[in-house]
């Protein structure tokens, strides 16, 4: 049983849009992430879970830290996609500061390029059990 209703904040740290669109697809009909009580919010101060996609470009690094500090307690971070996990196709890029767990602590890793919506929902559900 899920006893909490956590809100999500999505941070695109310089991805290719693939994971971002799959994240929106998992909210749209067909997958309907909102049945777990999750809503995408426009401000990190309202959110319990931070979803990070992308390979964290150098411009995004400072801002990612700042957004993490604004996140409501008990800050749960989910890294989505190969880029966020390891750099993926952009591993050798000169403008990459990532992976995400080098910058902020990450709780859940969702691999895939991009991960399927089913995988994203599974990851968020696992995070819910930790809340």
């Amino acid at each position: 049983m899920i006893s909490r209703s956590p809100w999500l904040y999505h941070f695109n740290s310089g991805g290719c849009n693939g994971c971002d669109i799959e994240l929106i697809a998992s909210i749209a009909p067909g997958f309907d992430l909102e049945r777990l009580g999750c809503v995408l919010k426009g401000s990190p101060r309202h959110a319990d879970i931070l979803l990070v996609t992308g390979c964290v470009t150098k411009q995004a690094e400072k801002r990612l830290k700042r957004i993490y500090s604004q996140l409501a307690e008990k800050k749960i971070v989910i890294a989505i996609g190969s880029c966020a996990l390891s750099g993926g196709a952009f591993r050798s890029s000169y403008n990459r500061a990532g992976p995400v767990d080098r910058i902020i602590p990450v709780d859940i890793y969702i691999p895939g390029c991009p991960p399927r919506p089913q995988a994203i929902i599974h990851g968020i559900k696992t995070a819910l059990e930790r809340l």
Binding site: N12, N17, A28, K58, R63
Partner: protein
Amino acid sequence: MECLLPIGPYHPVLSEPEYFKIRVEDGRVVEVDFRVGYNHRGIEKILEGRTGQGVVPIVERICGICNFAHTTCFCNAVERIAGVKLPERADWMRTLTAELERIQSHLLWLGLYADAMGFETLFMHIWKEREGVMRIFEEAFGNRVTKGLNTLGGVRWDIKNEGKIRGVAERIMRYSDELEKEFSSRLVKSRLEGVGVLERKDAKRLSLVGPVARASGIKFDIRRIMPYNAYRELRPEIYTEKDGDCLARVRVRIFEVRESCRLVLECLEGMPEGKLKTGLEFRDGETVGRVEAPRGENLHFVSIKEGRIARVRVRPPTFANFSAVPYMLLGERTADIPVVILSIDPCFSCMDRIAVYNERGERICRF
């Protein structure tokens, strides 16, 4: 009263990082400045010095929405340098997938646009239909977004689910009529009509491409001007609007969804039998590949030296269209800013090509 309105770089309206500095006077926009480059990942540099089939998956990661347009553009360019003629079936497979991708991309945008107007129900409806196309991709290619279909010298797989593709194309064709009705309702019109107008001469001067140019009355489509792949035989109809406002951009895209469905059905009819790929060796030379991506003309300059990629320059459609946004925004109400920015269907991950730093690691170039 005058005030400065910063939007971004991380803002709920924009799904990607971008920064707009907008000066507002009495609720109207008087000056617009923007900075891009937050998404710069240095793909062009990563590609340099590489060779073999391994470059295609990297090109595919330029953009998550129109990845097939990017790989088609790149592969067409490299194949032209190598002097390889594709097997006919590969040409048709590329066209079929490109048109499916156009349907998917336009539905995605129409949904997000409905959401930006505050019409969330329509967003949900449109994305439900889009899911049909995504399921086709998953069945046919094993992945929903990055298809991995293109390879240098042909395509990697054959389609297996023809019946299903036909069913989805027919359903979306019917749905596009419904969509047209939704988007011509009184409420939507009051939000979009006459907003973000771009005249034909301005569109021409700023050299816009794709649906944005077509909404301003410019009949420009690479599929007709420089036919590639199976477009040499299929002739897509080009639809233009005269008004050049946000509603015209929506109408152009709805028409293109319908036209793409027709092309998909035609592709399934006319698909020739045969081989899927031929061998290809990297040969020295340089050329430009041009394809019509969902957002407009996509252009890759490819230069190969000593069997390795010496330079790839990617000029995605958003790069061409983005310079028009400040012109569209001038004089608009503050509440219409998101509607106008999103009307060009910006894809910043495609377009962020450069970032300039000083020796302290601070970004110094506005680009």
